[in-house]
């Protein structure tokens, strides 16, 4: 009889705390025209933004739900809170942040991380950014890191935001991009001038505290020629029985010979529908590096997209997805080779257990003009039991002969031979299996910044308990 190894679900109890939301702070539920105008007024939007919201709402109503991917029938849009007024304006000192909000971020370790290893931090609580700070020495280099609303009202950046906002991911892209265009709130604006290398990462943390709420933050990052930035995004929420929604949007513009590393550890609670959109446009010689860890959410649709628009530009996507009981995580990446001599690399790992569903979905498009381009996709999936599910759905669309495209995918279980070998070297079966699972993830976890690799290890907490199955 085979022995079964039990691997715990990710322990999310450290994220499962909440504070009461005052009903008078809730602007409204559902997606309605008058509510959109009210949000716009509340936020003091310029007229072009108010119009964009209304146009997006029209598109949202006209666009059908996706007919592929996990079910989102459990998401009742009429119940979702679209906007919660902040208790206070955005601050740049933690002591000025309201006590319960500050306590939330302290429990999540954000102020400590800021002190120890970050150049700047943004913290969003429900609908609005409540804290933003950037180290003085980085600010002196001309780097801008603030909330989008503040930047939009600053005449130095207002034009830039109007030029770039929702141009990479237009509201017509899909239903939830349209929803985002209508109700977006919060998020970050980052600008890195030409030639500036931001040596220490910036981090934004998104916390959704309220029940049945939506978070629709927008992140807009523009890094100029020959610059470098590492941006980290984290997110969590307490667990409720009612569905919550995250429909954020990330637009990244990477200039010539610039490099942007965008790392995400997504650990939403398991009542969350995570329908997030991320896209990068990369100019000549530029590089986008996506590091993506998906651990939370009830349902995810998440496919960071790289548009390699300049000659010699490149993208790397490194992802890990852990799907446990009740989770249906549809993750992957897209790359569009739009210029000559571009290159892309995708490397993903997924683990399914306790009835969890994992889907790796990808697309690689090589346009006729992208001569001399190369792409390599490698995805591996591990099934830890027979009540779970793991699918891989890659697509390659190649339109030039002058391309070199490789793809490999593997799916399977923990190898008996590998366990046996390690046991002959003196490890117990539990230790052997733990080592194999760690090794399976290592390829990806080594790409995470150290503080996030530690967090990931804490998240996975693979307790290997041998039991006779």
């Amino acid at each position: 009889m085979k022995e079964k190894t039990y691997i715990e679900d990710i322990d999310e109890s450290i994220y499962d705390f909440r504070f009461k939301v005052d009903e008078e702070d809730v602007l409204g539920r559902g997606i309605k025209s008058d509510l959109i105008d009210e949000i716009s007024k509340e936020k003091g939007d310029p007229e072009w933004m108010r119009q964009l919201r209304q146009k997006s709402l029209e598109i949202f109503h006209k666009t059908s739900m996706p007919n592929w991917g996990p079910s989102i029938e459990g998401l009742d849009m009429d119940r979702i809170i679209t906007y919660i007024r902040p208790k206070a304006k955005m601050r740049n000192k933690w002591e000025d942040v309201p006590e319960d909000v500050k306590e939330t971020f302290e429990r999540l370790g954000i102020p400590q991380a800021e002190r120890e290893s970050l150049s700047g931090v943004g913290a969003q609580y429900d609908s609005e950014i409540v804290y933003h700070n950037l180290r003085a020495e980085v600010e002196k280099q001309g780097v801008v890191y603030t909330d989008l609303e503040t930047a939009m009202k600053d005449e130095k950046y207002a034009g830039m935001i109007q030029k770039y906002f929702m141009k990479l991911i237009p509201p017509t892209d899909h239903k939830f991009a349209a929803l985002h265009g209508a109700v977006w709130s919060g998020g970050s604006f980052v600008y890195v001038p030409e030639g500036v290398k931001v040596e220490v990462p910036l981090q934004s943390y998104f916390r959704l505290n309220a029940e049945s709420a939506g978070q629709f933050e927008h992140t807009l990052i523009i890094i100029e020629k020959n610059s470098y930035l590492h941006f980290i995004e984290g997110c969590s929420a307490p667990k409720y029985y009612a569905a919550s929604l995250h429909a954020g949007c990330v637009e990244l513009y990477v200039g010539e010979n610039a490099t942007l590393r965008y790392s995400t550890i997504e650990n939403w609670s398991k009542n969350m529908y995570n329908l997030n959109s991320k896209r990068a446009l990369v100019e000549k010689g530029g590089k986008i590096e996506w590091i993506s860890g998906s651990f939370g959410s009830h349902t995810s649709y998440l496919y960071p997209t790289s548009i390699l628009n300049g000659e010699g530009s490149s993208s790397e996507f490194t992802g890990i997805t852990f799907s446990g009981n009740g989770q249906d995580l549809d993750t992957g990446a897209k790359v569009i080779h739009n210029a000559p001599n571009t290159s892309s690399y995708m490397n993903t790992r997924s683990i399914s257990k306790s009835g969890g569903i994992n889907t790796f979905r990808s697309e690689v498009i090589v346009k006729p003009q992208a001569k001399g381009s190369k792409s390599s996709v490698s995805c591996a999936s591990l099934m830890l039991d027979s009540i779970s599910k793991s699918d891989t759905i890659p697509v390659m669309d190649i339109r030039t002969k002058d391309a070199d495209i490789g793809h490999e995918a593997k799916i399977g279980r923990i190898s008996d031979e590998a366990v046996f070998y390690l046991m002959t070297r003196g490890l117990s079966e539990e230790e052997a299996k733990a080592l194999i699972v760690s090794g399976f993830c290592e390829n990806v976890s080594k790409e995470l910044p150290i503080e996030y690799a530690v967090e990931m290890n804490n998240l996975i907490r693979m307790e290997m308990v041998g039991s006779i199955g």
Binding site: W68, K389, I393, I398, T400, A403, E408, I411, G412
Partner: protein, 314 residues
Amino acid sequence: MNETEKIRINNLPVPTWNHLNINFAEYDSSASMGELFDKLKRVSIKPENENPVVYDEYIEENTEGLDFDFTVNTDSTVILRFLTNENDMTEKDIIIKTDGKIREGVTFRLVIINLTKNARIYVTSETLVNENSSLIMTTISLGSKKAYLEGKAKLKGDSSVFDSYTAYILNDGQFLDMNYVADHMGKNTEAEIVSSGVLNKNTEKVSRQTVNFISGCAGSKGAESEEVLLLDDDVKSLSAPLILCTEEDVEGEHGASIGQPDIDVIFYLKSRGIAIEKIYEMLSVAKVEAALSRIGHEETTDLVRDFLGVNKAE
């Protein structure tokens, strides 16, 4: 249904993004697929010895579609060859359907050869594979303006096998759309789905491959692979290799290589004095030869080589 409508065929078992246009192929028809299938001429074949059954169908203006029914009780081979007479430029739509059932412990070799000219051909094949039995399927598609090929194997019996190899060379505006699916249902089943081909000027190929590990198929293995040589710039190669899995104790893998011929191979052959055009021809023909060697039927080999304009078997 009277007006021409687009019927969805070669459906991907699990859909993906619609903008990729790979979830299904569209087939123009004035009748539903069920109605079209009902009109097909029934052909029942019960191969009874090791001599291959060869069925030739010349596609002409009045050719009817065919619905083959295979009951396979012994190791056997059926070769279906779809042809067009020389100088016949008929633009005929033709549907070929095969349903097979392979008895326990039997190996069935199904060969499909498409050497038609201007026809639009849709060949859909579904076979139930019982315990310890094997379906060895070899398809060579060189003809047709548009060809739609579908091969599905239900590996119902324990230790059943599906081994599929498809070779193609597309030239001058040809379009090929493929869909191969292995459903692993029994324990210790094995599947290998291979497609290998060449795209020359202004051609388009769509390849769907799926290994589907269904809960209970413990000990099963499935592999898909695809090699596509792209020899011109105005070609389009679309691929979706799926692995679906609801069983823990399985091994599934996929590998794909799409692009120009290996530069080292080209360099070596050129250093032997072979012109680049000849090298491309050699590499193209090699893909078809690999399929012909699986078939091992001299007359079919000659027929295919004639079509390609290469030397007959000695």
